[in-house]
């Protein structure tokens, strides 16, 4: 029995190791190609280890595209969007769960019915609207159009519902006003849900491609994703450089992912199961 179990365990390990290695092969190929000469990327026979290393590729691309500018733009967009989204979502979630006011349920129903509408359905009128405000090709336009989401309100609300009303009632009797209750009791308790929302918004905005593609036209305002895309179409045959640029674009998200992995996984589980 125990030898049989051992065999099963070994098979399982072999299976898992080979599967995870094959999942990561594209990334490995990306990194080694970024260290080759442009002409050697597709050398035949295939080389899984470059003969000579060319880390200077990373220096070269730094001079070809304003990567720093792209990174700064993306960081700015990501941080501001995430903050606005987080604050307004927490506020609204508190209003929807702990306050009673006329029309609350109708307004919430409006959120619920639009949560299932894909952005691609209304992106055209939204663009016309934002352009009409004179915010086309600006970061503010891009921030405004994705900073208010029903998803965020929904996610935080689900969490706030589980906070007992008695807790707020007790604070009210102790003389705390509504904002005080929000700031001192409900908001700190909502940290797990906030972590989920932050991670979710952060990755979405950082990796967003279509939004910036539609809104940003000036080179100096473009994001990392757009910048890399532009670089790829400009230097189509300089394979090693393209891979080096791609590696650069992945580094920040890899760092965030590896340091907050727990939240990523818990976030998927939470938002996935509750829909």
């Amino acid at each position: 029995m125990s030898t049989k179990k051992k065999v099963i365990k070994i098979i399982l390990y072999v299976l898992l190791v080979s599967l995870s290695v094959s999942m990561l092969v594209p990334f490995y190929w990306m990194v080694i190609s970024s260290l080759k000469l442009n002409k050697d990327v597709f050398s035949i026979p295939m080389r899984w280890w470059p003969e000579t290393m060319h880390p200077e590729n990373y220096k070269v691309i730094w001079n070809k595209i304003p990567l720093i500018t792209f990174f700064m733009n993306t960081a700015k967009l990501t941080v501001i969007t995430t903050l606005v989204q987080l604050c307004t979502s927490c506020f609204a979630a508190y209003g929807f769960t702990k306050c009673k006011f006329v029309g609350r349920d109708i307004i919430f129903l409006m959120y619920v019915t639009t949560i299932a509408v894909p952005w691609q359905v209304y992106m055209v009128p939204q663009f016309i609207l934002v352009s009409g405000m004179g915010l086309n090709d600006t970061h503010i336009g891009l921030i405004l159009m994705q900073a208010f989401s029903a998803f965020g309100v929904f996610l935080i609300r689900q969490f706030y519902i589980s906070i007992p009303d008695e807790l707020c009632e007790a604070a009210r009797i102790d003389g705390l006003n509504e904002f005080g209750i929000f700031r001192r009791i409900v908001f700190p308790l909502g940290k797990p849900a906030m972590a989920t929302l932050i991670i979710f918004t952060f990755t979405n905005v950082w990796n967003d491609f279509m939004g910036p593609l539609i809104y940003l036209k000036t080179k100096e305002r473009k994001t990392v994703q757009l910048g890399i895309r532009m670089f790829i179409s400009q230097y189509g045959a300089d394979y090693a450089w393209i891979m080096a640029a791609s590696v650069c674009s992945l580094i920040p998200i890899v760092i965030v992912f590896l340091s907050c992995q727990r939240f990523f996984v818990e976030g998927v589980a939470a938002s996935g199961i509750k829909g």
Partner: protein, 306 residues
């Protein structure tokens, strides 16, 4: 609050008014932004689908259902719809099966689960642009690694992937499966933890082997999750844009042009907002139907649970 006017109100009414004001104060920041940037555009996408407008100073003109007649008469649109459906067909089932398989493998008590989980999940958080660039190179038809491997194992005439109109969508689907299965694996893993271990213990007592347990306990218990994953995946497939845009640009010819690619091109390259909005409404209708299926399914399982 304590000015002359509120003096006419009873304390009870006063409290009610205060509650209303406070409630709205909390909701308004999000509500205003959401109304302007989401709710109004959603309504306008319906309005614009029956209008003719090119974005210029010339006013919109009501044209009835002409935009819909237009796009359904357009071979490119019908093609786009077809490509999107074939992409969904090629992507949904493999992603689902692989996600389930990975989750079952990872749900066993072994060391290093976290490392494997990270490896499987990682493609999901990598950006489409970088991922598309590397896969385009892997799929390079003449000397790319994938075709080199295929030639090595004896396929002398491997497909030409993204430059072949019959294979381009297959290539996009493969990348999509690779990229998204880790996400759904996590969803499955969470569901697997929810299955009571007593079920497995009882089955072991009855002498069931691993396969029988998987077949008769795990998979049936996961049916609601499978249904949910299938719905999510299908909706996600109908919204596909980035991956196609960076890998094939909709080509070769129009072979991989999808619904959203069509909407994007109509709206932002030729500025035909009417047909673009009509296309968007078609997308909306598809997603709505899928969502309604989800609701009825959830009701069914909800009933079963109690």
């Amino acid at each position: 609050m304590s000015n002359g006017k509120t003096g006419f109100l009873t304390p009870r009414q006063k409290r009610k008014l205060r509650n209303n004001l406070v409630g709205y104060a909390f909701v308004l920041p999000n509500l205003i932004g959401y109304s302007i940037f989401v709710f109004i555009p959603v309504i306008f996408s319906f309005v614009m689908s029956v209008m003719s407008w090119d974005g210029s100073k010339r006013p919109m003109q009501f044209v009835g259902l002409a935009n819909f007649a237009d796009i359904f008469g357009d071979k490119i649109f019908r093609g786009a719809l077809l490509h999107t459906i074939s992409y969904a067909l090629m992507t949904v089932i493999p992603t689902l099966v692989l996600a389930l398989l990975l989750a079952v493998l990872l749900n066993s008590k072994i060391k290093g689960v976290a490392i494997f989980r990270t490896a499987f999940y990682f493609p999901y958080i990598a950006s489409v642009v970088a991922v598309g660039a590397v896969w385009n190179m892997l799929f390079q038809p003449d000397f790319g690694p994938i075709n080199e491997i295929l030639k090595f194992i004896g396929i002398s005439n491997p497909p030409r992937w993204v430059v072949d109109k019959n294979w381009a969508m297959v290539a996009v689907s493969i990348v999509s499966v690779w990229k998204y299965m880790g996400y759904y694996m996590i969803v499955y893993l969470a569901a697997l933890q929810g299955i009571s271990s007593s079920l497995y213990e009882a089955a072991s007592l009855d002498g069931a082997n691993g396969w029988q347990k998987l077949r008769h306990i795990t998979i049936p218990m996961l049916t609601p999750t499978t249904f949910f994953v299938m719905i999510m995946l299908t909706i996600q497939c109908f919204k596909v844009f980035d991956l196609v845009y960076v890998m094939t640009g909709g080509g070769p010819g129009n072979a991989t042009k999808t619904l959203v690619n069509y909407i994007y091109e109509k709206a932002f390259t030729t500025w035909e907002f009417g047909p673009a909005s009509a296309g968007a409404i078609v997308l909306f209708a598809i997603v709505l139907v899928i969502t309604l299926i989800q609701f009825s399914g959830e009701k069914k399982w909800f009933k079963d649970m109690f």
